[in-house]
């Protein structure tokens, strides 16, 4: 149990997927302009990321390994992720129209979020057990959401700041992300 908690915290803070491993940067830069958008995107990704990590784990160990087809994993995983996104959308539409309205437009974008594929591949590369994969994926997903929300809050404050002309727009966003990443480096060596 302690091991699982360590794996979760490690993926959440120490090796944060966005700030230390550069996965999922497109939504991190693209949809953190507003606080509520960022929170919705984070929530939707959390759900899809955990589910698809579980699904890819099962498929890899039950189907690809027995058949000796491990080299097909990229093709299989991307299909699994796209299906999980589709199923999530169908499920949300029928059970909770309100949540579907909030998350609706963000769901299709998650298919090309490299963090989702990255978590599935990294969990495989470290040969984690089933329970550890779940802990790793939920840590990664929560870390993604945390950073999205933090960054959106900082960017809302930045809108009122006076920024040198050359830095306005993307450069200041990247430099802010760099400073946030330095803050997360403070977690290095913590428990892992």
């Amino acid at each position: 149990m302690a091991d699982l908690a360590l794996i979760l915290l490690g993926a959440l803070l120490v090796n944060n997927f966005v700030l230390a491993q550069f996965l999922g940067l497109c939504p991190f830069i693209g949809s953190t302009g507003r606080y509520d958008t960022a929170a919705a995107m984070g929530l939707a990704t959390t759900f899809v990321l955990t589910l698809s990590a579980v699904a890819t784990y099962v498929l890899h160990h039950q189907l690809l390994v027995p058949l000796g087809l491990e080299f097909l994993r990229i093709i299989v995983f991307i299909v699994v992720i796209a299906s999980v996104v589709q199923l999530t959308e169908l499920y949300l539409r029928s059970t909770s129209p309100l949540l579907h309205q909030v998350l609706g437009i963000y769901l299709p974008l998650i298919t090309t979020n490299c963090a989702v594929l990255g978590v599935a591949l990294l969990a495989l590369q470290q040969s984690l057990s089933f329970a550890a994969t779940i802990a790793y994926a939920s840590g990664a997903a929560l870390g993604f959401t945390l950073v999205m929300v933090l960054f959106a809050a900082i960017r809302e404050r930045l809108q009122d700041a006076r920024i040198p002309e050359a830095f306005s727009g993307t450069p200041i966003t990247l430099i802010t992300a760099g400073i946030l990443s330095m803050a997360f480096m403070g977690f290095a060596g913590f428990g892992v």
Binding site: I29, T112, Q125, F167, P171, I172, G178
Partner: protein
């Protein structure tokens, strides 16, 4: 042919995937720790880009419109697998250091966006030119950032090129900065964000200055920006 050159310069310069459209940022920041990593990923991305764009241009008549995105993704995934196997076969050491990001080429939005907006509408020749131009634009950005971070972060340039070009390339390594002048931060993750932000701001400042001093066409402004980044 002038049509072809225009597609090419549009693809690599005016619509540069990295510094105009900000597509494919994840590999750009993650793999830019050294020139050799940058070159390896640029080559793999170019292979996938050209392969996927040309297949989509050839197959577009048979791909039904409602199912085009899944088809594109599957084609890209096939070429990504091929690029991964090729790197494993011919440059295994290099593959080990960029393995994750070679596999993640499949989710690089740059490739899917070119497939959707260009290759699915144009002829085979135009699509190949467009794919080559986009891949070149991505490679320039990746190599500039990789060179900048390698030079200032670890004081060398072209270290470890033997991973890609065989043992004779070991002599290519240039040791330019002594330890006192290196900025370790640039080879760590925050350095990627900071370096990319600073290079982009430098390019912006230069473009602003040029467009203010003379009302020239954006071509020359865009042309000077990457050169400036190279000298930094």
């Amino acid at each position: 042919m002038s049509h072809g050159t225009q597609i090419f310069s549009n693809a690599w310069l005016h619509n540069n995937p990295a510094w105009i459209q900000l597509l494919g940022l994840c590999p750009l920041l993650a793999v830019s720790t050294s020139v050799v990593n940058a070159l390896g990923l640029s080559l793999a991305t170019a292979l996938v880009m050209v392969g996927a764009s040309s297949s989509i241009a050839m197959l577009r008549r048979w791909i039904p419109d409602f199912a085009r995105l899944p088809c594109f993704v599957l084609i890209i995934a096939t070429f990504t697998t091929a690029a991964m196997l090729l790197l494993q076969a011919f440059a295994f050491e290099l593959y080990l250091s960029i393995a994750l990001f070679v596999q993640i080429i499949v989710t690089n939005c740059m490739i899917l966006s070119r497939a959707e907006s260009f290759a699915s509408r144009q002829s085979l020749g135009a699509s190949v030119i467009d794919a080559l131009g986009t891949a070149l634009g991505f490679a320039i950005a990746l190599l500039l950032l990789g060179g900048f971070r390698e030079l200032l972060g670890s004081g060398t340039l072209f270290a470890g090129m033997s991973q890609l070009f065989g043992p004779s390339a070991q002599a290519w390594q240039l040791d330019l900065l002594t330890e006192d002048w290196q900025i370790r931060l640039l080879s760590l993750p925050p350095g990627a964000f900071l370096a990319a932000g600073l290079l982009l701001a430098g390019a912006n400042a230069l473009i602003n200055r040029i467009s203010r001093s003379s009302t020239e066409q954006p071509e020359s402004a865009g042309d000077d920006a990457p050169q400036n980044q190279g000298q930094t």
